[in-house]
C-alpha cells in the first residue's frame, strides 16, 4: 500500500477546482472588459428583467464588472453596490478554497449563524429597495 501516491493525485485533483475557476473567471473578465455591456445588442437582456420588469439583486452586475475592469469604481457602485461589495468576500473565499485544496486540511471554523442569515436579509432588502422608485437613483442599475 502506498498511501502517498493516491493522496497526492487526490490533492492535484482538488487543486483543479479553484484553479479551473480562476481560469474561467479570467476568461469571462476578458470578454466583459472588451465587449461593452453598455452598448445595446452586445449581450441579451436578462430574461428575468424582460419577463418581470423588476430588478433582481444581480441586475447591473455585468456593467459593474465592466466599469470595475476599466478602473471606474464609482461607476461600478452605481450599477450594483451589493455585487461590488461581494467581490472581496468571493476573493477571500476563493483563497481559503485554494489553501484547503493545497494543504488538504479541512476547514476548521464556521461563522456564527447570523452571517448567512444576515446575508439573506441583506439581499432581500436590497432587492426590494432597488425597485422602489424613490431609491432607484442610488440602487437601481
Amino acid at each position: 500500500m502506498e498511501p502517498s501516491r493516491p493522496l497526492r493525485s487526490a490533492r492535484g485533483r482538488a487543486l483543479l477546482g479553484p484553479l479551473g475557476m480562476a481560469v474561467v473567471t479570467a476568461a469571462a473578465a476578458v470578454v466583459v472588459a472588451t465587449v461593452d455591456p453598455n452598448q445595446p445588442g452586445h449581450y441579451p437582456t436578462c430574461p428575468s428583467l424582460l419577463v418581470t420588469g423588476l430588478f433582481c439583486p444581480g441586475c447591473g452586475t455585468l456593467r459593474a464588472a465592466h466599469a470595475l475592469l476599466h478602473g471606474d469604481l464609482v461607476g461600478a457602485l452605481q450599477m450594483n453596490v451589493l455585487a461590488v461589495l461581494v467581490i472581496p468576500v468571493v476573493l477571500a473565499s476563493w483563497v481559503a478554497w485554494l489553501r484547503r485544496a493545497a494543504t488538504g486540511r479541512p476547514r476548521s471554523w464556521l461563522a456564527p449563524w447570523w452571517v448567512p442569515a444576515g446575508t439573506l436579509a441583506l439581499f432581500v432588502a436590497f432587492t426590494v429597495a432597488r425597485n422602489i422608485p424613490a431609491l432607484a437613483p442610488w440602487l437601481a442599475p
Binding site: S48, P106, R107, S108, L110
Partner: protein, 141 residues
C-alpha cells in the same frame, strides 16, 4: 444516509490520515457524513451548546450568493440552508449541519444549472429571432 459503522477514532495510527480525505474532492465519492473525525465519539451526540469536534461542513454561502446574482430563485433557498448549517453546527448538531450542507449544495447547484440552461435556451431563442422586437430593455425609460 446509512448508519456509521461505529465510532471512528480520528487518530488511529494504522489508517490513512482522515484529514487528508476531508476536503470535498469533486468527482469523487461524497464524504461519508458519519465519519468525520470527532463525530459520535461520545455516546450522546450533544444537542447542547458548543461546536462539535472535527471539520465543519461547507455552507456554500458564496456559491449561493453567486447564483442569486444570476437572478435565480433557488439561490435564496440555498442561503436558508446555509444558515441552518451554521446554526446547527453552532448548537452542536453535527449530523443536522451536514444534512443542511448537502441541501444547500443541491439548491446552489439547481440555481446554477437553471441559470446556465435558461441562458442557453434564451440565447438560442434570440438567435432564432423569437424576440425580434422586444428583446432589448430600454435603460433610458
Amino acid at each position: 444516509m446509512s448508519t456509521p459503522n461505529g465510532p471512528q477514532d480520528p487518530y488511529q495510527p494504522s489508517g490513512e490520515n482522515p484529514y487528508g480525505q476531508q476536503p470535498p474532492v469533486y468527482g469523487q465519492q461524497p464524504p461519508v457524513y458519519g465519519q468525520q473525525p470527532g463525530y459520535p465519539a461520545a455516546p450522546s451526540p450533544g444537542y447542547g451548546y458548543g461546536t462539535p469536534q472535527g471539520a465543519p461542513p461547507p455552507n456554500y454561502l458564496v456559491w449561493s450568493i453567486i447564483t442569486i446574482l444570476l437572478c435565480t430563485i433557488p439561490g435564496i433557498v440555498a442561503i436558508v440552508f446555509s444558515t441552518q448549517v451554521n446554526s446547527k453546527w453552532g448548537m452542536g448538531d453535527a449530523a443536522g449541519a451536514y444534512d443542511a450542507s448537502k441541501k444547500a449544495k443541491t439548491w446552489a447547484l439547481v440555481g446554477t444549472i437553471l441559470g446556465a440552461v435558461g441562458l442557453v435556451v434564451y440565447i438560442g431563442l434570440m438567435v432564432a429571432g423569437v424576440f425580434a422586437s422586444t428583446a432589448t430593455y430600454d435603460w433610458n425609460s
